[in-house]
């Protein structure tokens, strides 16, 4: 069955089973590989995208559950004010190491800062602890979120 998904402001028609996770539609069907596969069970956050602004794990979000909601991925997050601030802070603080989890980290952080302009350490823990970084960039992620929250 064909579905129309609104991704980064553009409609895309895809013909896959309705129970297909959004992650694979993005990566394999549409070739948007910035969103990463890490666990397939919403345990690591590497696949995080925004659906109507909410940080969402695309690996367990089936495409028949999305409807007309707006999907934003790492490829377009820089066009949002919070996303731009977060990306700049990530660059300033040299956050990434291997970098593989960073798309998901940035998407979670951008959603946090968009919703909560002055997050506390606890807010950061709550919003970011679903995102695993095997390189252990957590300290710089925390600093970068604080920088972005203070206006970049």
């Amino acid at each position: 069955m064909a579905f129309t998904l609104k991704i980064n402001g553009t409609p895309h028609e895809v013909d896959v089973d309705g129970d297909t996770p959004l992650l694979w539609v993005l990566r394999d069907v549409l070739g948007m590989t910035g969103t990463k596969f890490g666990c397939g069970m919403a345990l690591c956050g590497a696949c995080t995208v925004h659906i109507d602004g909410q940080a969402t794990r695309s690996c367990i979000t089936t495409i028949d559950s999305i409807g007309n909601s707006a999907i934003t991925t790492i490829e377009a997050i820089g066009a949002t004010p919070a996303g731009a601030k977060i990306q700049k802070a990530w660059l300033d603080r040299e956050v990434p190491q291997c970098g593989y989890c960073q798309s998901g980290q940035i998407m979670s952080a951008a959603a946090l800062v968009a919703e909560n302009p002055h997050p506390t350490d606890t807010d950061i823990d709550d919003a970011m602890s679903g995102n695993i970084c095997r390189c252990g960039t957590y300290l710089r992620i925390r600093e970068a979120i604080k920088q972005a929250a203070q206006g970049g």
Binding site: V16, D17, D19, T20, L23, W24, V25, R27, D28, V29, G31, M32, T33, G34, T35, K36, F37, G38, C39, G40, M41, L43, C44, A46, T73, I74, E75, G78, Q87, W90, L91, E94, V95, P96, Q97, C98, G99, Y100, C101, Q102, S103, I106, I124, D125, D126, M128, S129, G130, N131, I132, C133, R134, C135, G136, T137, Y138, L139, R140, I141, R142
Partner: protein
Amino acid sequence: MNHDHRASRSDAPANGFSRRRFLQTGTAAGGALLLGLHLPFARDAAQAAAADDFAPNAFIRIGSDGQVVLTMPYVEMGQGTYTSVPMLIAEELEVDLKQVRLEHAPPNEKLYANPLLGVQATGNSNAMRGAWKPLRQAGAAARTMLVAAAAKKWDVDPASCRAQHGEVVHQASGRTEKYGDLAAEAAQLPVPPNVLLKDPRDFKLIGTPAKRLDTPAKVNGSAVYGIDVRPPGVKIATLAQSPTFGGRVKSVADTAAKAVKGVRQIVRLDDAVAVVADHMGAAKKGLAALKIDWDDGPHAKLTTGDVAAELEQATLKPGAVAQTIGDVDKALAGAVTKVEAIYQVPFLAHATMEPMNCTVHFRKDECEIWIGNQALARVQARAAKVAGLPPEKVIVHNHLIGGGFGRRLESDGAERAVQIAQQVEGPVKVVWTREEDIQHDMYRPYWFDRLTAGLDQDGKPIAWNHRFAGSSVVARWLPPGFKDGLDPDSTEGATDLVYDLPNFHVEFVRVEPPGIPTAFWRSVGPSHNVFVIESFIDELAAAAKQDAVAYRRALLDKTPRAKAVLDLVAEKAGWGQPLPKGRGRGVSLQNAFGSLMAHVAEVEIAKDGTVRVHRVTCAVDCGTVVNPDTVQAQIQSGIIFGATAALYGEITLKNGRVEQTNFDTYQMLRMDAAPPIDVHIVKSSEPPGGMGETGTSAIVPAIANAVFAATGKRLRKMPVDPAALKQPA
């Protein structure tokens, strides 16, 4: 791995790189992927070397456009090598870092072997140690030739010219010429046999924090890892491998799987089944619909307990002597106090964030591979064997690595992907699920250690006897490195201690666990040895009723660099200052990978026995610092990685199967448990030491010793077991 030991061994691989060889190499390595600065990791930047490029050695090429291309022998997996190695070239060549563009070195053991390993691989924290001299020499040789070319052109003495910012300047006349305009002339000149390296006092880049060249692409989603490649027409496959080690496929019922929309093909191998589909969603759904009947093979009943029991038995018999000083038996007989302990560390998975994957296009007489791997020449050779092709018919494209940690020093994923691709028309990307990735890893070995020490009337150690048993990864991975029952990796951190121990004896017994593949894991041999040594020395301090720092310090008169980092960490951590109840501080001291490091960890044990690391202080002497920002980042990274292992890391077996499956059962340390980490770098002019792994091995004993300080309970088996630390209600 003790690199000095390896480098000096007569049985080291014969293709170890000589300075002379690379300086004489005049050909540019063509055909590899070019990584431009502005689009550093774009797929389509391939560019051939022009015939009149200036390529004085295997690393540097300068075209008439002045672009400096570094053929990069080391891979980027997060450790910052794509920035720190170009810094070496740029420093000596007198160009800005931004003028250097990276190109992955193609598989070529002769030109691009790691001088400390003898093979083309990035691991063992030695990229910078290996690159430090040769890459600066390469840059200096190119600079010398460019200056000579300009001097010749102007008919002046080369000594009256100097290089700066990508051009040669003749001070007296004020004439300047850009490198690009000198490239063709420089290419005609002989490569100088000796070149003068810059005085460290004149370094402009080395020692100054540099922005990483790979960061922008990693922040906007454009970085391309192996898992992201999409050759035209690529299909996606996922697989189930035998759940037991050494098991086989008995039968496959695939009707339901084939009916899944998007599933194209089922590939059956001897010990695995793969589902090939249009996308991973369909491949996974197809895999779930398969009914596979397995022959569980010879290890069907294996448990972790069986492995540990075998190792324990092995430590009762003599092993190969790794190091002996003085007379341990005699000293023990005369000791006032004897301390004995048994230590064990578990199997560990690597769990790189990028799950294992490899894309292969198998054609009739050629095989093309897209992968992110730490050992390219190995991938090429092993894949060629599976494909039945000569290695030169196997084209390997390397990519950014989404976490290596030793997992991607292995070629098993590429070999598996070739097996599958041989049955598939067109390119196929084989992506392992996280469950396959954890259950079919090649694991950090399980180790079993037996130690005895003797103390004199003052509590000073006068005898140290250590015997341990476990797998030798080197024996499989680099067989010439295993000799007379020993290899330099298994014993690194257990021998050549920083402590002055007059009677010292270490033995290693190699025991391979039945069927379970073992591999290098971040911080390799020291991941085990440093935990054991630094815990046991802590036990001796406790037995002597002495302070853990003071006790170590008294044994460091012959190793001043070690004493300096210990003093620094104690000062910065506030060692000895009072702590709230339930908290404890633990110290560790390490000499590994060519760097000296000391940690103090501060922990708190909750009523339910869970351990929280509140703070880590680190002092490091890693010799000359190339990129200080990377040193900081790598230490933080290593500490989080090691703390994860100390608090949660354990792969166990039951009925021949790995019991852990995903991040719910194989836990990672997360943001809410990540401690603040303070790093203090000792200024040093020694050559650079390794940084990628040091923090990992050093933090585990610091945490264990802190738990002891807080609870009086000694952790002799990793990971931390909260049940054993639980306080009575």
